[in-house]
Subunit: 133 residues, 4 copies
């Protein structure tokens, strides 16, 4: 994924640490995809009635990770207030999806994989928040 | 737009004031569309070089309003933490787009209209945050 | 919703009939919201096991309507090939959601409302395809 | 990116070739991110007035790639009609962004990188269309 390459080709100032930015954008893409796929896999389980909150958390997390990746992929007119609080929203959404998926991880491998991606995403976003100013 | 009708047809508990929820979801849809159209109209201006920050703020605002409308359109597995902080992110994005568009409102009617929609969206989201618990 | 106002404020040529364009963009926004809300309402039904295909169709339809509305909200660098085939994809997604929701309309009011919005959206998109060139 | 792992953990039938599906979903994510970043980098160029069509094509391509990746990430209630025509829309959007970026590739490295990702995405989507039935 040429995330870092695109950052390095940006023709003006980049306001956040490039390595952390690139790593977080990549993780957000992974997390969005895993959550979309996990929601769909949950829908296909016979026990879907027990997985409805998990599906909802996955849908939110996919939506919020995608939009957070977009915000972070833009450097023009950088606004630290928007960046910071969108990252905070992303942390909450990833925590919610992680906690729901963790509850079903022993039964469903897709939940186990998804919980792990969400966990990495929480760490990356929290760490990036400290670099926003 | 059948936003309120869909809320009233939801088969379980709705955790936020229905009138405020419906009004905010409608405004978020208007704001996302106006910002997408304003970014595109700015691109078509001869003075686009002076409008690049406005375009970026519009793109962020469109993305964040759309995802916030999605979060608010879901009631299953309601998570007040995700809802609250995503609304806070939306307020920041709408403020950024409003302030940029306000600066160009005298020159560009699309910026004037967009700034007004953003302004209404800021008020609606701020008011809804107080109802989230 | 100031969709038509934003079209009229666009500073260069608009390549599709303005009234049809504005009406379709508004309907796409309604349809995206209704489908997101219907998927969530289906998730909250005790009979969710019978509604999983409906949920999936709703999720696709919400995603595709939103992106189609974005494409139609942009006039700069108008590309009739992208516009036409994205409208065709939107017709298919709305047909799929309409047909699924129609099957559950007698049982679930949210499916009945959603099917009606999808039906209007199919007609609007099909009609707009004939105006794209 | 655990795309293939999530496909293999899906608890019911997968209707498209798994390797091709996983490779395409990954490429769509890369392409969406590269197009978002390229649009933003174009905005920051002094020659932005010459890049407005490129920016628009990038924005469309980012939107359409993201939604196509979502459609492909869902297996429940698989609908070959929606899948096929959404892939066709994605091919058109990637061709448009590729052709615009190719025109500026000699001047702007971000356009060169983005054009290459779009090119791969065109090939992957065209190849996947043949596998949809």
């Amino acid at each position: 994924m040429p995330v870092r390459e695109m950052i390095d080709d940006y023709p003006a100032a980049v306001h956040i640490d490039r390595a952390a930015l690139a790593a977080t954008v990549e993780l957000l893409g992974e997390c969005a995809q895993a959550c979309t796929a996990c929601a769909d896999a949950c829908l296909a389980e016979d026990s879907v009635l027990d997985l409805t909150v998990c599906i909802r958390s996955n849908l939110d997390c996919a939506d919020i990770c995608e939009v957070t990746a977009r915000i972070l992929s833009r450097n023009t007119g950088y606004d630290s207030n928007v960046t910071r609080v969108q990252l905070m929203a992303c942390v909450q959404a990833c925590i919610a999806a992680r906690d729901e998926c963790d509850q079903h991880a022993a039964m469903h491998e897709h939940c186990r994989v998804c919980a792990d991606v969400c966990r990495k995403c929480v760490t990356a976003c929290q760490s990036l928040i400290d670099k926003v100013d």
